[in-house]
Amino acid sequence: MKTTARTGAECVVEGLKRAGVTTLFGLPGGAILDVFGRLYHSDMEFVLVRHEQGATHMADGYARATGKIGCCVVTSGPGATNAVTGLATANMDGVPMVCVTGQVPSPMIGNDAFQEADTIGITRAVTKHNYLVKNVDDLPRIMVEAFHVAATGKPGPVLIDVPKDIQKASTVVPFPETINMRGYRPTYEGHPKQIEKLAAAINRAKRPLLYVGGGAIAGDAATELTALAEKANIPVTTTLMGLGAFPETSPLALRMLGMHGSVAANMAVSHCDLLVSVGARFDDRVTGKISEFAPKAIKAHIDIDPSTISKSVEIDIPVVGHVKPVLKALLALVEKAARTEWLAEVAAWQATNPFRYDTQTNELLPQHVIEQVYEITKGDAIVTTDVGQHQMWAAHFYKYTRPRSFLSSGGLGTMGFGLPAAIGAQAGCRDRTVVCLSGDGSVQMNFQELVVAVEHDLPIKVFILNNTNLGMVRQWQEMFYKREYSASVLGQASRPRNERIPAGRDGYLPDFVKMAEAHGAVGLRVTEKAQLPGTIRKALETPRPVVVECRVRPEENVYPMVPPGASLTEMVHSMA
């Protein structure tokens, strides 16, 4: 089957179109101009960002919110290196993404040409796979493969580096109808014997626990998971990445586990006799001290990625496969059970130790802001976060009831993720309320992207919990570093001597309300607790992007906290 000749640039655009891409994020430069020349004539919406990191986080937020593949197009050299953080973020959290980068012309590669970087070398460790296109005839196949690899198995970002001469060259090679990759065949169905073994273990267990990660959301298995938990009365704890996989309003929901997990979740892990991991990878922030993690439990692990099995915690019953069909098969084999005693024990932990803060004070507390946003949005928003204290409070005080509604950089912990991710999420879900919960430290890392929300009429609501500090750094310094607040204070007063801030300054920069206005958005500020509900309502009712700066009490810490390296039962609840 012959096709008419296409240029490499046309292959790229045709490949995107064939993959069903409707929205692209990116920023041009010399080495990618041929592709942009074709995009100019395309029907796909192009979102012009202000920094390539923003493009990757937008594509990421778009992918997490919609379940589709996020796409970005950037130039060579600095364009590609700026994209690295976003690729690494997506790679750690298993987010499907395709990133097309321009590259200097093939004959100039390796010559230290203008805007040349070894993009393939640099991104090898932060992508699921990457391609340097050496022959335009390979490009149709590579475009098809890239989308296949990004979306299947454990999803992840795939980068395609296209030299400028390849974009200009032409090919008659058609797009392949089938994919034949002998080195890449992810396991989909779980092994029936292993599933039977797991079902028998569940049926035998007196104190089983489901430990659910982002894989349950990526694998679209929330329905099956809920059915399983309810049929067999198994309590559910989720990781940060798993929030929304199971309705947190259910009595079976123990909320998040781990370093900042709930007492109920961490106690249940420590006392269960069977722990079933569903698409969660036993991350160090979850397990605490490995030798004391779930010490009484038989451990089972359902995961599409065989390399996560027994990586840190030894697994007794591994099931390699896609969570959805595995849970479906499991559901048929698992018996109904009441487990009254176990549920009563768990309920007691829940009742006596909910996530809490001082609700009586007149001061504006960050936890209260999040709880109010939860109540006023009726728990129905898509929430993005940055990284730090506010991220943990967003996990504690907003209850997630459906998948793809909590978008956060869990693995890499990328400050600066929240605002562009919210823009991407809103671009993919125009009819939803999209809220970015951020901190004054994080939000400044990609604030420039706010103009993009304004330009594209994406009415995101950004709540900045301004505690005038890098709060989580401050908390660690308070708890583990002798209260020496080295480089964690963002207000100008009481900065350490080595920072050389002239005496007498006590202001805070920048002015976030003016920042919002300068970017064409609405800026609001809350300093008093009483102003909060009205301001949140006003923000939600405003059909434009809004930034709400909340001046919160700086000294609040995130509790409970399991100190690094300690066992999950050693939770700290206050500084006293």
Binding site: I120, G121, R124, A125, K128, H129, L132, K134, V149, M181, R182, G183, Y184, D305, P306, S307, I309, S310, K311
Partner: protein, 159 residues
């Protein structure tokens, strides 16, 4: 413990960098590494020896399997397999010592591939331990230079 890992990989540029990057990125030292095309020119066989405990090496093979360009990986350490290594040794050897050196080479089924006025170059292809033994034996003559290929290995019989 030393592990012998072999993999069938796509014969494409960048594949070796991917594999080496994956292993070095996890802090392992590759003791030897060998790669060349198989009977199918689009596929290369790679053999490497990596020191490390079983658990760590299981993780390495799983990670290698995840690479899109890696078709198949096997840890041959616990399996019936054949491992061979090629070595070229230049030993100091003036005319009066030649007979002695050649006799030693004969004992190991090694071949003298080049004769110089003050040295001999000997080629030996055998199991890794035999190479070590040979080096020990010729040491008194004076070893001027050694070049070893690293182990190549195949599993024995059908799997």
């Amino acid at each position: 413990m030393k592990h012998v890992i072999t993999a069938l990989v796509e014969n494409q540029p960048g594949v070796l960098a991917r594999i080496v990057g994956l292993i070095s990125g996890r802090g392992f030292n590759i003791k030897s590494l060998n790669v060349a095309p198989t009977q199918d020119p689009s596929v290369s066989r790679l053999t490497m020896t990596v020191p490390g405990d079983d658990r760590v090496l299981e993780q390495v093979t799983k990670q290698l399997n995840k690479l899109v360009d890696v078709i198949k990986v096997a840890d041959l350490t616990q399996r019936r397999c054949l491992g061979r290594e090629l070595m070229l040794v230049e030993v100091a050897c003036t005319a009066d010592k030649r007979t002695e050196a050649i006799a030693l080479a004969d004992l190991f089924d090694a071949r003298v591939v080049s004769v110089q006025s003050k040295s001999l170059t000997i080629q030996l292809a055998d199991a890794e331990e035999r190479l070590a033994d040979f080096l020990e034996v010729v040491k008194p003559l004076g070893i001027l230079d050694v070049s070893r290929s690293g182990v190549i290995a195949v599993a024995r019989g059908a799997e």
